[in-house]
């Protein structure tokens, strides 16, 4: 993989994280516990869709084959998506969704804070905008994890179960994809070790404050960087890409 191909894959991976996470949060539309939360979650989904659009457009430009953001979102096969697996897991209950959002938004906050210093000016610009958005997602999720973790016996148990189930998917966020390792040399890609240490510190402090146990590291599930997904990804794409697959180039 040359530098250009690596940058394409890096941008697509970031775009896919936002796109697939947005899809999952959108599923809460009309299903959230209260109307205000419904608005909050779909509002986050819109932030992520906007981010996906910019990143996939840029990826298409880097690739230089004339593919648009829509082409990349709606006409790639499952094996060509490079999002982290944690983004595609089903929503579960509200505790699971909030625990996931805490993990991913905290990761994104520290990741994009680092990416602001990227030598790639387009990525740095996306990062500067994204940091403001994900800081709010992170605050929202943190408050809910504290409320539910340190809430009733039922809410505490559900939150702990969610944290435990998600833990094995968090390691992948900090695993460097060998295909894009060269981007570190040009100071384009982020140093994930820095992100990991900040993430772990914030998450440990938050879980402890929420009277939740920080899970012990065990089996670590990976696969996103190789395009190998969970069984849930195909279902997402079959719904998300239905229109373009059934009626290619449809306009209205």
């Amino acid at each position: 993989m040359n530098q250009q191909q690596a940058l394409y894959k890096y941008c697509v991976g970031l775009g896919d994280d936002a796109l697939i996470q947005s899809y999952r949060l959108s599923e809460w539309c009309r299903n959230a516990p209260i109307l205000e939360e419904d608005l909050a979650l779909t509002n986050f989904a819109l932030d992520m869709t906007g981010r996906a659009q910019v990143l996939l457009s840029y990826a298409g430009k880097v690739e230089g084959a004339g593919r648009t953001d829509d082409d990349l979102a709606y006409r790639r096969a499952e094996r060509q998506f490079y999002n982290h697996l944690i983004m595609e897991l089903p929503n579960g209950d509200f505790a699971f969704t909030m625990a996931r959002l805490l993990f991913t938004a905290t990761y994104e906050y520290y990741f994009f804070t680092e990416l602001k210093n990227s030598a790639d000016h387009d990525l740095a610009a996306v990062a500067a905008k994204t940091v403001k958005e994900v800081k709010y997602h992170m605050a929202h999720a943190t408050d809910w994890v504290l409320r539910l973790g340190d809430g009733t016996e039922e809410s505490h148990n559900r939150m702990q179960k969610a944290v435990n189930e998600l833990w094995m998917y968090t390691h992948e966020l900090f695993a460097t994809d060998p295909d894009v390792a060269m981007l570190r040399d040009g100071n384009i890609a982020v140093d994930l070790a820095v992100v990991k240490s900040a993430w772990l510190q914030f998450i440990s402090r938050t879980l402890t404050e929420a009277t939740l146990a920080v899970p012990a590291d065990g089996y670590q599930q990976t696969g996103g960087a190789a395009g190998i997904h969970t069984e849930h990804m195909g279902h997402i794409l079959s719904e998300m890409q239905y229109l373009q697959r059934a009626y290619p180039d449809a306009t209205w």
Partner: protein, 96 residues
């Protein structure tokens, strides 16, 4: 009247720009202050409506009784001299 099952009610006031009055925007449900502020932000300021938000528990608001409207508001209707309408506005004065 049906019991509201979605947390307590809070009233939301939005300031559209620094220095402007806070205007009542509506209400949100919330179990605490922080959630009230976040819900107000997500419900009422998604399209650039504001630069600052106040949230107040609805039960902290004291409202006048409509039955008292005669006593409270009618006496001001026929006293036109209470209003500073007999002055000429200086040309350069804005927003008075």
């Amino acid at each position: 009247m049906a019991t509201d099952s979605q947390f307590a009610l809070w009233e939301v006031f939005i300031q559209s720009k620094p220095g402007a009055n806070y205007i009542h925007a509506g209400s949100v449900h919330s179990s605490d202050k922080k959630m009230a502020l976040q819900n107000a932000r997500d419900t009422y300021t998604r399209r650039g409506e504001g630069t600052s938000i106040w949230v107040v528990p609805s039960d902290a608001i004291v409202a006048s009784n409509p039955d008292d409207n005669d006593m409270l508001f009618d006496p001001s209707n026929d006293k036109v001299y209470r209003h500073p309408t007999f002055y000429v506005m200086p040309g350069g004065a804005k927003a008075i």
